[in-house]
Amino acid sequence: MNEQFYLPLVVITITTIAIPFLFHLSKYLGEKSMNTNNQNEVYESGIQNTHKDSFERFNVKYYLVAIIFVLFDVEILFMFPWALNLRELGLFGLIEMFVFMGLLGAGLIYIYKKGALKWT
C-alpha cells in the first residue's frame, strides 16, 4: 500500500463530503421554515397535486439500455489492460483482441436487429 498516493485520496474524500454537508446548515441562516402544507406540496406546474405519490411505470427499453450498458462497460474495461500493453503483446494480442471485439460487434448487430435500441 502506497501512502503517498492513497492518503491524499482519503483526505479529499473526507473534505469533499464534509463541506457540502456543512452547507446544509445554511437553513439556520435564512428565514425559519413555516412548514405549512401548501408550501410543502409537490410542484406540479401550479395545479393541485392529484396523485399521492409519483410512481410511474417506465418503458422497458430503459432497462434494456442498462443491461446493454453493463455488458459493454465490462468489455471496454477488459480492453484497457490490452491498450496499455499493445506493444508487449504484439500481433498475437491484437488478433486476440479483434476476436473479442468481433464478439462485441456481433452483440451490437443482434441488438440492432432485435430493435432493442429503437426509440420511437
Binding site: V60, I68, L77, N85, G107, Y110, K114
Partner: protein, 190 residues
C-alpha cells in the same frame, strides 16, 4: 499501523452498508447503502495495490450494475411497504443460517490452512494495469475469450427475456386495446 486502521475502518463500513441494504424496508435506502458498500469494497483493492481492479469495482458495480438495479426499482413502487409471504419462519431461519455458515467456512478454509501464496508477485516498475494485461493475455487467454462469449450470451438472453412485447407502448394505446391486452394476459395466466 495506518494499513490496519484503514482495513478495520473499511471492513466496518462495508459490513454496515450491506447490513442496511438487507435490513431496511425502504428501497431507496437499500440502493444507496449498496452503492456505498460497493465503493467501500474498492478500498480493499486499493490497499492491496490493485488499483486497476479497484477502479473497475467502482465503475462496473457502482456505475453500471447499480444503475441497472435503479431502473429495476423504477418498475415498482418504491414507497410501498412490501409484505413478504413467509409460510414457515423456521425453515427460512435454518436455511439462512446454514448458507451463512457455509460461506464463512469456504472463505475461512484457505486462511486457516495457510495455503495462500501469491501466484504473480508484484513486479517492480510495472503498473498494476500492465500486469493485469500481461497475465490476462498470456496465461488466462482462454478464460478471457470465454468471458467474451459469456457476455454475448448474457446480452442476448437479457434482451430476449426483458424484450417481450417491447413494441407495445401503453401510453400510445387506446384504453380498449389495453383492456383487451389485460384480458388476454389473464387468460394466459389462468
Amino acid at each position: 499501523m495506518f494499513e490496519a486502521i484503514a482495513f478495520y475502518t473499511f471492513s466496518f463500513l462495508t459490513i454496515l452498508m450491506f447490513s442496511i441494504t438487507v435490513m431496511t424496508s425502504q428501497a431507496l435506502y437499500a440502493l444507496t447503502a449498496m452503492a456505498a458498500g460497493m465503493i467501500f469494497i474498492s478500498a480493499f483493492f486499493f490497499m492491496l495495490s490493485a488499483d486497476f481492479l479497484g477502479a473497475i469495482q467502482i465503475i462496473v458495480y457502482t456505475g453500471a450494475v447499480m444503475a441497472l438495479y435503479a431502473f429495476g426499482m423504477m418498475f415498482f413502487d418504491t414507497t410501498r411497504e412490501v409484505k413478504e409471504k413467509i409460510q414457515n419462519k423456521n425453515i427460512v431461519f435454518v436455511l439462512g443460517t446454514m448458507v451463512a455458515l457455509l460461506v464463512v467456512a469456504i472463505f475461512m478454509a484457505p486462511v486457516v490452512s495457510e495455503n495462500i501464496h501469491a501466484l504473480y508477485p508484484i513486479q517492480e516498475g510495472l503498473g498494476n494495469t500492465e500486469q493485469v494485461g500481461i497475465v490476462l493475455f498470456t496465461k488466462y487467454l482462454i478464460p478471457f475469450e470465454l468471458a467474451a462469449i459469456m457476455l454475448l450470451s448474457a446480452m442476448i438472453s437479457g434482451i430476449v427475456l426483458a424484450g417481450k412485447k417491447m413494441d407495445n407502448s401503453l401510453t400510445l394505446m387506446a384504453d380498449e386495446e389495453i383492456e383487451l391486452m389485460q384480458e388476454a394476459n389473464e387468460k394466459v395466466n389462468s
